[in-house]
C-alpha cells in the first residue's frame, strides 16, 4: 500500500499549517490586547468605539441608520435657502429680477443694471451665517471682491476709463458751458440739507447728497469714505453703513434719467426756448486737447485736493487718449479695464443689498432723497441755463435744455436732451452741445465730493 505514507505526510502538513494559523492569530490577538500598553494606539478612544458598536443590538441598527438619514436630511434642509428665506430675501430677489428685466427689455443702462440685478440675487440667496458665504462675512470670496467698493478702489479705476473715453473738445470750444455743470451740483447740496433735516448725521447726509451728482463711482467713493459703518461720529456712535443703498439709488436713478428728466424739461423750458439752435462749436486743436487734462487737473485738484483719486485718474485717462502716443494704454483703459471693474463693481454693489442690512427705513429715505436730488439737479441746470441766456445775445444764446445734462450721467442725460430737442425741432441736433455740460458735470460732482469729504471726513 503506497497510499499510507502520503496520508501521513498530508496530515503532518495540515498540522503544521494549523500551528502557523494559530500562531499568527495568537500574535495578532496579543497585539490587539496589549496595543494600548505599547502605545500603538492611533485613535483616541478605541475602546469607546468598540463598546458602542457592541452595545447596539442588530435590530436597532437599521432604525438608527434611518433616523440618522432623516436627521441628516433635516439638517441639510436647515442649511438650504428654502429654510432660511424671509420675505425680505424674496422681495430683494424680485427687485433683482426687475433690474435685469429693465436692462434687457428697455435697454436702461444694461451694462449696469444686469450686473447689479444678478448681484442683488446673489446677495439675497438665504444662507446660514458663519460659513464664509455672505458678502459681509470676513474671509468670503465676495467679501474680498467687495473690498474694492469699501475701500474706494474701483471708482478711480472707472474714472480712468471714463477719462480715456471722454472727448472734452465741445467743452474746450465753449468753456462757458462748464458753469452748467456747476449749477447742477445744487442737487448734491440740496439733498445734503434734506438728509440733515430727516435726521441723518453730517457724514451720512454728505454721502446721501452725492446721489444728486448722478455719478455712480463718485457716490460709491464718497459713501465708502463717509458712511462706511466704521467711522466714529463726534457723539461716540458709529456711522451707518449706507454704501449699498446709496450705490443702488445712484445707479438706478442714473438708469432712469430718460424717465425722470423729460417731464422737468417740458415743465421749465417753454416751446420757443426748446427750439433755440446753437452755433456749432469751433474745431479744437490737438494742442488744446492735450493741455486740457493737465491744466484741469492742476486747477481742480489744487482747489479740492480730496477729489484727487477721482480727478487725477479722470484726467490721466484723458491724457492717455489725447497724447497720441499712448493709444495702447488708452485703449485698455476704456475697454478691458473699465469692463473688468464694471463687472466687479456691479455685482458686488448688487450683492451688498443683503435683505437684513438693506431693507431698512434709512434705505427707503435714501431712495426718496435720491429721486428728489435728481429732480433738484436737473432743475438747477435748466434754470441756470435760462439765467445765462439773459446775458447772452443773438447767436451765442444757449438752448436751456442742455442745462439738464449738467447732471453727470454721461452720456445718457446728453442723449435725453438731444432726443427732447428733436421732438420740438426735428433738425436741432444738440448732442455735441449737451456733452459739454455733461462732462463738466462729472468734474463738478467730483469736486463737490472732494469738498464734502474735506468738510466731513
Amino acid at each position: 500500500m503506497d497510499l499510507k505514507p502520503i496520508d501521513t505526510s498530508l496530515i503532518l502538513a495540515k498540522k503544521h499549517k494549523m500551528k502557523k494559523i494559530l500562531l499568527i492569530f495568537g500574535v495578532l490577538s496579543l497585539l490587539i490586547f496589549i496595543r494600548p500598553a505599547l502605545g500603538f494606539s492611533s485613535d483616541a478612544n478605541p475602546k469607546d468605539g468598540i463598546t458602542s458598536v457592541e452595545a447596539q443590538p442588530n435590530v436597532d441598527q437599521g432604525e438608527g441608520v434611518f433616523t440618522n438619514a432623516v436627521h441628516g436630511i433635516e439638517q441639510f434642509y436647515n442649511y438650504t435657502g428654502f429654510a432660511n428665506a424671509t420675505w425680505g430675501h424674496i422681495i430683494m430677489i424680485l427687485i433683482g429680477i426687475v433690474f435685469i428685466y429693465l436692462g434687457i427689455k428697455f435697454d436702461y443702462e444694461p451694462l449696469l443694471l444686469i450686473p447689479i440685478g444678478i448681484g442683488v440675487i446673489i446677495g439675497n440667496i438665504p444662507f446660514v451665517a458663519g460659513n464664509q458665504t455672505g458678502i459681509y462675512e470676513t474671509g468670503s470670496v465676495l467679501n474680498y471682491l467687495y473690498f474694492g467698493v469699501v475701500k474706494g478702489v474701483y471708482p478711480p479705476l472707472i474714472f480712468l476709463g471714463i477719462g480715456a473715453m471722454t472727448d472734452f473738445s465741445s467743452l474746450i470750444a465753449n468753456p462757458k458751458l462748464m458753469l452748467l455743470g456747476a449749477a447742477a451740483q445744487i442737487g448734491v447740496f440740496g439733498t445734503f440739507l434734506g438728509a440733515l433735516y430727516l435726521g441723518f448725521s453730517l457724514p451720512e447726509a454728505g454721502a446721501i447728497g452725492i446721489i444728486g451728482g448722478a455719478d455712480g463711482p463718485t457716490a460709491i467713493f464718497l459713501s465708502s469714505k463717509l458712511a462706511n459703518g466704521i467711522n466714529i461720529l463726534p457723539d461716540g456712535t458709529t456711522v451707518k453703513n449706507l454704501i449699498g443703498p446709496i450705490a443702488i439709488a445712484a445707479y438706478s436713478y442714473m438708469a432712469l434719467v430718460p424717465v425722470i428728466q423729460p417731464p422737468i424739461m417740458r415743465l421749465l423750458v417753454n416751446k420757443e426756448d426748446r427750439k433755440i439752435r446753437m452755433k456749432p462749436p469751433r474745431a479744437v486743436t490737438q494742442k488744446e486737447k492735450m493741455i486740457f487734462p493737465v491744466v484741469a487737473l492742476l486747477l481742480t485738484t489744487f482747489i479740492s485736493p480730496s477729489a484727487l483719486p477721482l480727478l487725477g485718474m479722470l484726467f490721466f485717462g484723458n491724457l492717455l487718449k489725447e497724447s497720441g502716443r499712448t493709444e495702447r494704454l488708452a485703449d485698455t483703459a476704456r475697454t478691458k479695464l473699465i469692463d473688468i471693474v464694471t463687472i466687479l463693481l456691479g455685482v458686488t454693489v448688487g450683492a451688498s443689498t443683503q435683505a437684513d442690512i438693506f431693507i431698512t427705513k434709512d434705505s427707503m429715505m435714501i431712495f426718496a432723497l435720491g429721486a428728489i436730488s435728481f429732480v433738484i439737479a436737473t432743475m438747477g441746470g435748466l434754470l441756470f441755463a435760462k439765467f445765462m441766456n439773459l446775458f447772452l445775445k443773438g447767436d451765442n444764446k444757449i438752448n436751456p435744455l442742455i442745462g439738464a445734462s449738467g447732471v453727470s450721467a454721461v452720456p445718457d442725460s446728453a442723449r435725453v436732451v438731444h432726443a427732447e430737442a428733436l421732438k420740438s425741432d426735428p433738425h436741432n441736433y444738440l448732442l455735441m452741445h449737451a456733452m459739454a455740460p455733461n462732462v463738466s458735470g462729472v468734474i463738478g460732482s467730483a469736486i463737490a465730493a472732494g469738498i464734502l469729504l474735506s468738510f466731513l471726513a
Binding site: 470750444a173 449749477a183 451740483q185 440739507l193 440733515l196 479744437v284 493741455i291 469736486i447
Partner: protein, 122 residues
C-alpha cells in the same frame, strides 16, 4: 436727552447751511476759473507759444490770431464719421473666397524624425 438731540440736530443743520454755501461757491469758482482759463488764458498761451516757435523769417503779424471760423466741430464730426464709415466698409469688401495653399515643408532638423517616417526606405 431729547432736548440735547434737538440742539445737536440744530447745530448740524446750521453747519449744513455753511457747507451748502461754501460748497456751491467752491464748485462754481473752480469751474469758473477753468472756463475763464480756457476762454482767455489758453488762447494767449498758444499765441505766446507761436511767437516763441516762429521762424526767423516770419513776423508776428503774420501769425493768424483766430482759427478758421468756417471749420466747425460739426464739419470735423462729419469728416470723421465719413472716414469711420469708409474704414468700416472696407472690411466688408474683403474677398470671401478662401484658398487652401498646399505647403510643402522643407527639411528641418526639428521635424526630421516625423519627416523620416514618411519617407520610403530605398
Amino acid at each position: 436727552m431729547m432736548l440735547l438731540n434737538m440742539s445737536l440736530q440744530a447745530d448740524q443743520i446750521s453747519e449744513g447751511y455753511v457747507i451748502l454755501l461754501t460748497g456751491l461757491l467752491i464748485v462754481f469758482s473752480a469751474l469758473l476759473i477753468l472756463s475763464l482759463f480756457f476762454q482767455f488764458g489758453l488762447p494767449l498761451m498758444l499765441y505766446v507759444y507761436r511767437i516763441i516757435t516762429k521762424g526767423r523769417d516770419k513776423k508776428i503779424k503774420d501769425i493768424p490770431m483766430s482759427a478758421d471760423e468756417n471749420f466747425t466741430g460739426e464739419v470735423a464730426a462729419a469728416i470723421s464719421t465719413a472716414i469711420h464709415l469708409y474704414l468700416n466698409e472696407q472690411h466688408d469688401d474683403e474677398n470671401a473666397v478662401l484658398t487652401i495653399k498646399q505647403a510643402r515643408k522643407l527639411y528641418s532638423p526639428w521635424s526630421s524624425k516625423i519627416y523620416g517616417t514618411h519617407q520610403k526606405l530605398k
